[in-house]
């Protein structure tokens, strides 16, 4: 599964036109099998044949297949809409935000998580912007607050969360409130984003193919870059949703804190787009604390983001950031479910 989850990241790098990687791994005119494609063919065969098997296997496989396709169908429009809006904002609204952050760093740090409302970018789209802010001289703590919080105040994320949870205040407001609080706590007591001098030279691995500045190029890059990650995430989620032992899930769900930790780990592994993960969270058989932890963790602390952050800010920063953010998510999510809006 690790190789599958990593596949979309590999995709973004410059590859020979044949689809083979420069290091020789990959498809095979060299005669070596492409295990990614073979694995995908196997998965497709299982999902097509499995639902036709008798009970009890057939219905579970049908659930996996239907969940997988449903999640992809429901999430893809949000993903592409996010890219289209991001193009509009990048083209017309980024410069004033950079100027404001330079004028007042403290105020900027407090306001940074809310910039998602004006810069509606998904978590992967925030990474290059955070790097640009850092390179423009914005203080590191402002950059951290922006990177962690902006994906959670994105209007599309809020709208998709409201849609997935039927407008439930405890989840919709909770995702924003806890997400912003986690971003501020992480920026305050966690590591500030390192300055440009510590930046790796190679930036051509941020998950997007910046092959053009047009709307089509932006949306197309999102499809080619984040689309496969979404498909893999939906596949894992669908499989887990349908195939995980009901007893084990019920045991986790019955212990809220354990459920929260399990859902945080799940969110980190799935690495779903923040504009679409609410639909997965809504289908998870756990309580509100687990779902909220899942919703807040994904845009802040996923494996996919970790890879992007590591390339941008370095391994040491990523580890310190993950430690601080994970602790903050557990504490603040629990506080919200216990004392927050009911």
């Amino acid at each position: 599964m690790t190789s599958l989850l990593e596949a979309p990241t590999e995709i973004q790098r410059t590859e020979p036109p044949s689809g083979r990687r420069a290091d020789g791994r990959g498809a095979g005119r060299s005669g070596r099998p492409d295990w990614t494609l073979i694995g995908l063919a196997g998965v497709a065969a299982v999902l097509l044949i499995g639902p036709r098997l008798p009970k009890p296997v057939g219905p579970r496989m049908a659930a996996a297949a239907v969940s997988f396709v449903s999640l992809c169908a429901e999430s893809l429009p949000f993903l592409l809409a996010g890219a289209a809006i991001a193009w509009l904002v990048r083209r017309h609204g980024a410069a004033p935000l950079v100027r404001a952050a330079r004028r007042s760093p403290v105020l900027a740090m407090v306001m940074a998580p809310f910039m998602g409302a004006a810069l509606p970018l998904c978590d992967c789209g925030v990474v290059p912007l955070a790097r640009e802010l850092r390179d423009a001289g914005v203080p590191g703590r402002v950059v951290t607050a922006f990177a962690a919080g902006a994906p959670l105040t994105n209007p599309i994320v809020i709208a998709s969360t409201a849609l997935a949870f039927g407008g439930s205040g405890i989840m919709v407001v909770g995702r924003i409130a806890v997400g912003v609080a986690v971003a501020l706590v992480t920026a305050l007591i966690g590591p500030p984003a390192p300055d440009a001098a510590a930046c790796p030279v190679d930036h051509d691995h941020d998950g997007h193919d910046h092959s053009g500045d047009g709307l089509g190029a932006m949306v197309g890059a999102e499809l080619a870059g984040t689309g496969p990650a979404l498909v893999i995430g939906a596949l894992v989620a669908g499989g887990l949703r349908a195939l995980a032992p009901a007893g084990a899930l019920a045991a986790v769900a019955s212990q809220p804190l354990l459920a929260a930790l399990a859902m945080m780990a799940l969110a980190a592994v799935l690495s779903l787009c923040s504009q679409a993960d609410a639909f997965v969270a809504a289908s998870l058989p756990v309580g509100n604390l687990g779902r909220l932890a899942f919703l807040v963790t994904g845009p802040i602390l996923s494996l996919r983001l970790g890879a992007l952050y590591r390339r941008t800010f370095g391994t040491r920063w990523v580890l310190a950031y993950a430690r601080t953010a994970a602790l903050a998510i557990v504490v603040l999510s629990t506080a919200w479910i216990t004392w927050g809006l009911q």
Binding site: A44, L47, L48, A63, A73, S211, G216, G220, A224, R241
Partner: protein, 220 residues
């Protein structure tokens, strides 16, 4: 490096570009076809189908503009849900096991008025019966004549899966049935009868039952 390497690389690049365009076009055409044929109703709610059609049209434009260039591996991953969707029919979707999710259903975005809440009967869904019983109580529904399509769950009950956003969150709504010998579980029936109250829950006393094929959109 020998001179012929450049043309070979050029041809390879051209092939890769063409295949990536085909992937994006296939994805777009698949979404448009799913929306137009009603197949999308297996996976998402009705109000979302136009969104899928628009997304598909957008992807076709992207393919035409050559704006998206997924690598072969990325293209294969992107096409996986399309391949699976083509191979899954209503019967497989209707057989989905959702044992881990239950309850928690309420009025949904995009639902029309509930005839049972307006004092009427006629063709209704299991969800409308469930919501009406929850809002005004089973006793208020007693004697109401209804017609309902559902899957046989047991000799004395029928059920239907209901989704809130997409089929990934589908969960079953069950109705107890009296006065009819239902066919084997998994078969679909159209039941005509009168609602009654049974032990604090709503039930259906069947006057007429007939077998029907699996509906095009088995998950409400």
């Amino acid at each position: 490096v020998s001179a012929p390497a450049a043309p070979v690389a050029g041809r390879a690049a051209s092939r890769a570009s063409r295949s990536s365009r085909l992937v994006v076009a296939a994805l777009g055409a698949g979404l448009v076809a799913a929306a137009g044929s009603g197949r999308a109703g297996l996976y998402v709610r009705g109000y979302f189908v136009p969104v899928l059609a628009g997304t598909g049209a957008g992807l076709l434009v992207l393919a035409w503009l050559r704006a998206s260039r997924p690598s072969p591996r990325a293209g294969a991953v992107l096409l996986l849900p399309l391949v699976v969707a083509i191979g899954i029919g209503p019967r497989q979707a209707a057989s989905v096991s959702q044992g881990q999710l239950s309850g928690g259903l309420g009025a949904r975005l995009g639902d029309g008025p509930n005839p049972l809440l307006a004092g009427r009967g006629g063709p209704v869904t299991l969800l409308q019966i469930d919501l009406a019983a929850e809002q005004i109580g089973p006793v208020a529904l007693m004697g109401r004549e209804v017609v309902v399509d559902a899957e046989v769950a047991s000799p004395s009950s029928v059920e239907r899966l209901v989704m809130v956003c997409c089929a990934a969150d589908a969960r079953p709504v069950t109705l107890t049935v009296h006065g009819a010998h239902l066919s084997a579980p998994g078969n679909w029936v159209e039941l005509q009868g009168r609602l009654s109250a049974s032990g604090g829950d709503v039930a259906l006393t069947v006057d007429h039952a007939r077998s029907i094929p699996v509906p095009a959109a088995p998950i409400l």
